[in-house]
């Protein structure tokens, strides 16, 4: 327990800083200039997006480019979002992202427990297989999976996208297993002596300790679901079922080629907003979680 806390503290609080007295001021200046210019570079496309989303048509095609629109045209947002039922798209995506996140976290936790906290013959062979499946490109499984889902009568629903998440995604299993391995075995042993069964140990001891790691898995899956384009593209045909990624694509086909850039950018901004808000809330837990899961080696 002590080891764990120490490790965690080091991850959060202690940056690697080397004192270098004579050049300190100059060094700090260089550092800030570099970081600020780099971050501006990274943010520029998104600033350009938001800026365009607030422009009137003449501003869009103005040379040289305008960064701060004046006047600001907020109406682009309601107008863009009413071309297609973006409310429904957003709700569809949220439903898909939330359920698949719950499924991915739950299943990865249970399976990772089996692969890390229990000793049983064949465990390592199966775990190796599990890791190996990460190398199989989605495209290999795409066609037969499609046919399987067709036979199961799952097409045109979210089942093909959600149910597999409940059956354990190897990458997340790997992450959680790495973390579970760092939890001292004595904790489980003590609980076993007290008569707890394995499920109890998982729920009462391991999971409470693993919250940041679970958050990482949750956020990664949420992002993956929010981002998923190929899956919905293949499995869903009705517009009323579309996630926001396909909705944005629909909007693009409406606004064929270059028309309505402010609308496209307004809709893109709205697509990004929910995930950014989510990240804002969980970012510390996320960074913390990454530093305690096994990702870094």
């Amino acid at each position: 327990m002590e080891i764990l806390n120490a490790k965690r503290k080091s991850a959060i609080n202690v940056p690697t800083r080397v004192r270098f007295a004579p050049y300190t001021v100059l060094r700090r200046l260089i550092l800030y200039v570099t970081v600020i210019s780099f971050s501006l570079l990274f943010a520029a496309p998104l600033i350009w997006m938001i800026s365009t989303s607030l422009k009137t048509d003449p501003q869009v095609y103005h040379v040289p480019p305008i960064w701060i629109p004046n006047p600001i045209r907020l109406a682009n947002y309601p107008e863009a979002l009413s071309i297609r039922p973006f409310g429904i798209f957003t709700l569809n995506t949220l439903r898909y992202a939330l359920t698949s996140t719950v499924g991915a976290v739950m299943s990865a936790a249970v399976v990772a427990y089996g692969f890390s906290r229990l000793q049983w013959p064949g465990r390592n062979v199966l775990f190796f297989l599990c890791l190996a499946t990460m190398m199989i490109p989605f495209q290999v499984r795409m066609v037969p999976l499609y046919i399987t889902f067709k036979n199961l009568d799952w097409l045109n629903s979210y089942k093909p996208l959600i149910i597999p998440a409940f059956l354990g995604i190897p990458y997340y299993i790997f992450l959680l297993r790495q973390f579970f391995l760092t939890i001292p075995q004595e904790l489980s042993d003590a609980a076993r002596v007290d008569g707890a069964n394995e499920l109890n140990i998982l729920l009462r001891i391991i999971l409470p300790l693993a919250k940041p790691a679970l958050a990482v898995v949750g956020l990664l899956q949420f992002m993956a679901a929010w981002d998923n384009f190929l899956g919905p593209l293949i499995y869903l045909s009705n517009e009323s079922l579309f996630p926001i990624a396909l909705g944005l694509r629909q909007l693009r086909s409406d606004s064929v080629e270059a028309l309505m850039w402010p609308y496209m950018m307004a809709a893109s901004t709205m697509t990004i907003l929910p995930v950014v808000v989510l990240f804002f809330f969980v970012q510390r837990t996320f960074v913390e979680g990454i530093s305690i899961t096994g990702i870094k080696g």
Partner: protein, 306 residues
Amino acid sequence: MGVATNRKFWAPRQQRELLKGLLFVSPWLLGFAGFTVYPILASLYYSLTQYDILRPPRFIGLANYHQLFFQDEVFRFVLYNTLYLVVIGVPAGVVTAFMVASLLNNEMKLRPLFRTLFFVPALVPAVAAAEVWRWVYNTNFGVVNSLLKWGGMSIIPFLSSPDLAKPSLILIHMWAQGTAIVIFLAALQDVPRSLYDAALVDGANLWHRFWNVTIPMCTPTILFVALTSMINMFQYFTIGWLLTEGGPNQSTEFYGIYLYRNAFLFFKMGYASALSWILFLIIVAFTILIFRASQRRVYYAGDGES
């Protein structure tokens, strides 16, 4: 942990343990059997057939593979483009992420803000990222070319030139490195202070410390990020499909795009399956290659735990 035992395999206690273990991993086993083993075996079978999913598959032996290697002119482009993307794009992404993480690892004010700024691009869904970059790269009114035109210079045909299209897509990839940055940041924070202090005593300058302490201590993380990035890069699809659809002049006809085209536009599921199997083998080969090459260089801090 994981030590092979010579005890009797079917001892009652072990049997119980086996059952318990299998019970816990059963969700994955179910998914593995249903959504992995079966599809890849089916895909292997389809790759030996001509199949348009409208009519039953027709067995044609190795004809798809033969066509792939000896007749399909496009396939060579596809291999070249994909390898270009992997060989240049993956290192470019990893280096970018590591540099940014190293920057962020310094003590500074507003670190959470900067961290968010660097991370947000990774949150942008591929479809939205494609739209944003289509607009940034626009040759007339995009932010770069609009400025160039205004300054009386010739434009940069980012996505319209066969030479620039791949680099332009790689730039988008380098931009969306947020997850890798956060992973590297976590690794960097775990490098023991004592090592830097020791290096300082030895008179190592900033660059030496970075090269001889920071990088070696982070090699397992670098390997992990590079591997997952490589596996994903081989399957590159969405942004390429939305932005260039394989053009100009096939310069962005990547593996995932060509596969999709064959399966869902040409109705050639059998051929697409053959393509996907070759892709699988290429990924396995690259993974082994990277593991081999990195064996001597990766430093695992003294625990034999995992």
